[in-house]
Symmetry: C2
Subunit: 308 residues, 2 copies
């Protein structure tokens, strides 16, 4: 079976390596001089459902979330947000209110994070899609995926697993679950990225899940990783709340995705402000996760392929 | 009924006017310093149909066309192509070959026009969509929509109406019709735009149709226009070919759309290389089209709203 990784590799071969440096395969592309670009799509029935509207979510929140998810790719490269383009499709017959509410949500984030919407596109389709192009200013140090070295420490900002709980709660109509806000309101970690950019070796944002995204870093850097499961920061009472929603608490943490926290790889001994140390980079390939007893977990079936 | 124009005006109000100058409502946005950005979506069953594959078109050609249509927005601002981002959605179960053929078509245009694909996004959806962000370098003179003045001459590059014939031929399965190539292979007018940028007052590319797009220029410039129908350049034998496909020959020229030629407004007396003079800007609002007898045509029902 072809996975997302193979598809991206094949696309990279078709498109060729851009002369400008970073390109397909990193979080965002660098367009000389100092401009970073990325694009991200939020698709009805893939990333969100219409049935959630009025039952835990609103179009405004879904618009904001689409913008935040896209902007997170800039944070992952330690770039500062500068502008957005927003391409929206709506089904024929969709009330205009849907469009305006999506736009209001996007505009709120644009104002909050200093990334005005400077253009866009409207088209009819069969579903609601919000495709956001983000433009950022690269700092002196661009964080890439391919700089991790054996012996480096692995850190993660915030907590993981909350978005998976929020998503499950929305799907179940359990609208009292506070993790819904965690899912709808990810916060790109611009401050944390800027704070560590000079010392960090690599970074990525957690969109596909910790194992998948750390796997991208390890693949690009030709290294492996070892994580301490008990060190991975999570929301209060995570395990019980996950079980109430029918989720495997461990899978929500390791493979849940969409938390948009940053995984940061930095030399051992450095301290990453606003983040928690969860493991180390190894020369041996592959990712091992140790439980509190020191045993290596079996991770089969925890993966997540956005493009599945 | 709310049209695209009102929706864009409302979105502009929601998003606010960007500090960088041009924004929503022009062909592309200017991101200081000298960088122009635009985004355009090609959507299955709106802009193309799966049924055409192998019957006059290929995924490769549809990928190329999506890139060309997006790049045309840069030509309309007299910007030079620099790079693209390509966000693609495919239905679950779609063969990977569709993705690679689309990418090959996009990559061919990227190579031909010097706009490498430096990033992108893949997601599952219910239909095929290709959303292309284009990045261009603005020249010394950026062509905008709002600079037309009463007394200016109106020019158009190439010919109009061919894309409408090609679209109708694809829909009818009339795959011998040569206009199919005209539809599948629009050619952004970078050379013509660069050639006239220093003297022209305004420009737009014909995506929605001559009347609609000239209407955008007139609206933004607070002027009107008068066109000579017989002066509008068309393909050889246009009228008979249009009728064979069941099209109103006049509507194909005036409202057909998707030719991606440039409408250029320049001071009377200037000569626009590679273009034909088709009329003049008037102080009186509205667009009048005169037939060869000098009578003003009734234009009701010729309009085209992409977002209908």
């Amino acid at each position: 079976m072809t996975g997302e990784h193979e598809r991206i590799a094949r696309l990279r071969a078709i498109y060729g390596a851009p002369a400008t440096g970073l390109g397909i395969g990193d979080d965002a592309a660098v367009l000389a001089p100092g401009i970073v670009l990325s694009v991200d799509a939020a698709i009805e029935d893939v990333h969100f459902r219409r049935a959630w509207i009025g039952r835990g979510a609103s179009w405004r929140e879904l618009g904001a979330r689409a913008a935040l998810a896209a902007l997170s790719d800039l944070a992952a490269m330690a770039a500062a947000p500068r502008a957005m383009l927003s391409a929206i499709t709506l089904p024929r017959g969709e009330p205009d209110a849907t469009l305006y509410e999506l736009a209001e949500g996007i505009a709120a984030i644009a104002g909050e994070l200093g990334a005005p919407v400077i253009g866009g596109n409207l088209a009819r389709g069969t579903i609601v899609t919000i495709t956001t192009t983000v433009i950022g200013a690269a700092g002196a140090h661009v964080l890439r995926r391919d700089g991790a070295r054996a012996g480096d420490a692995i850190w993660v900002t915030g907590t993981l697993g909350g978005a998976a709980l929020g998503l499950a709660a929305l799907e179940a109509g359990a609208i009292a679950e506070p993790a819904i806000a965690r899912f709808l309101r990810p916060m790109p970690r611009f401050g944390e990225a800027a704070g560590c950019a000079a010392m960090a070796h690599a970074a990525i944002d957690v969109s596909d899940g910790l194992l998948a995204d750390l796997g991208h870093v390890c693949g690009a850097s030709a290294v492996g990783a070892e994580l301490e499961e008990s060190a991975i920061p999570r929301e209060p009472d995570h395990d019980a709340r996950a079980r109430r929603l029918g989720l495997d608490p461990r899978a929500a943490i390791l493979a849940g995705g969409e938390d948009y926290e940053l995984v940061i790889v930095a030399p051992e001994g450095a301290t990453i402000t606003g983040a928690t140390r969860i493991g180390a980079i190894t020369a041996a390939r592959g990712i091992a996760v140790r439980d509190p007893s020191g045993a290596v977990l079996a991770l089969d079936g925890l993966g997540f392929d956005h493009f599945g």
